[in-house]
């Protein structure tokens, strides 16, 4: 005896356009799309930012035109320490400064003839190739780094001091650690 109930296999066949645009099962495709979009946005927003280095202030560690990424997750997991190369935001994320952390909150720092002194002790900086005779601050007094601040400088200390952007960055401006 033949049954009158419809066979689930008798569903109308999906057209090639539908299969091409949204697959055989639209719900599954929509979920896949949402999950993929969420993962991509989440990865680039909270984990890693792709960047291209412009300029020579981080030579020899980073070169003009070099492509790398900034790990935002790493900054969330581990607080910034001396020697970290950090990306520092401007008003947004389109333009970031890449600098190395030299002094931490609460430290007293000055630079004399290119040598950095932290709390009166000279700082060993193996990543530098050349030191131009920088002096900072100009008044020859120690600068006290505030509670949520870091002194950041590029690795190219052979540059003239007045052509090199460096200074004190607020903690809120740190975006993430730069990868090599």
């Amino acid at each position: 005896m033949a049954s009158d109930s419809p066979n689930p296999n008798d569903r109308p066949k999906a057209s090639w356009l539908q299969i091409f645009l949204i697959g055989r099962n639209p719900k599954v495709t929509a979920i896949r799309l949402l999950v993929t979009a969420g993962l991509v946005v989440g990865y680039f927003r909270w984990m890693a930012l792709p960047i291209q280095v412009t300029g020579i202030s981080m030579e020899p560690t980073y070169h003009d035109g070099q492509r790398t990424s900034v790990s935002r997750l790493s900054l969330r997991l581990h607080p910034p320490v001396r020697g970290d190369v950090m990306a520092i935001r401007t008003t947004g994320f389109h333009n970031l400064l890449l600098k190395r952390i030299i002094a931490l909150p609460g430290e007293r720092v000055h630079i004399r003839r290119g040598q950095v002194f932290i709390n009166g002790e000279p700082l060993d900086e193996p990543y530098l190739i050349k030191k131009a005779p920088w002096n900072w601050p100009r008044d020859l007094e120690d600068e006290l780094i505030g509670p949520d601040e870091f002194l950041v400088i590029g690795d190219n200390r052979g540059m003239p001091q007045d052509r090199h952007e460096f200074g004190i960055a607020k903690r809120e401006r740190l975006v993430g650690r730069a990868n090599r």
């Binding site: 999906a14 401007t90 200074g167």
Partner: protein
């Protein structure tokens, strides 16, 4: 084609229209951003542009400022400068226009804060400028203070902002 297919296409279209409206609906913040984008466009020019076009640019650039506007400019490698009044701004814009390589000014990440009556505003943004292959400055932050007069937003004060304090 199945009903699910049409439902999804319909939902995407509704989402697209709502998204488009959110993106383009006119607000004061958006008008200000457009004013500043127009300013960047007027500040940019290609080498070999005609004299009349350049003069029109200079005039349009200067008109984006109030008569008593003030500019404080201090960035790496350029001596600090202060300009007072639209005439001085017009003169500087005219002087820049004679650069041989042209000039390209771009603005990024504007943050607009409107005053309580929405007739004043403060905008922080990042700008870059290059002349030919040479960067005049990259990633320089600016603070714009604007005022709305007769329905038009004009810049009353423009200051450079230091990303890193020294």
């Amino acid at each position: 084609m199945s009903r699910g297919f049409f439902r999804i296409i319909g939902s995407l279209m509704v989402l697209g229209i709502v998204g488009l409206w959110v993106l383009v609906r006119p607000t004061e913040s958006r008008r200000i951003t457009r004013t500043l984008e127009a300013l960047a466009k007027e500040a940019s020019f290609r080498p070999g542009e005609g004299q009349l076009r350049r003069l029109a640019r200079v005039e349009s650039f200067a008109n984006a400022f109030t008569e008593d506007a003030v500019i404080h400019f201090e960035t790496l490698g350029i001596p600090p400068a202060q300009l007072s009044g639209r005439d001085e701004i017009r003169s500087l814009a005219g002087a820049i226009q004679i650069l041989q390589g042209g000039m390209d000014v771009q603005l990024f990440d504007p943050v607009v804060t409107l005053g309580p009556a929405e007739d004043t505003a403060r905008v922080y943004l990042t700008a870059s400028a290059s002349s030919g292959k040479q960067e005049a400055f990259t990633a320089q932050e600016f603070e714009f203070r604007l005022v709305r007069r007769d329905g038009t937003w004009r810049i009353r004060e423009l200051n450079t902002v230091k990303t890193l304090r020294r």
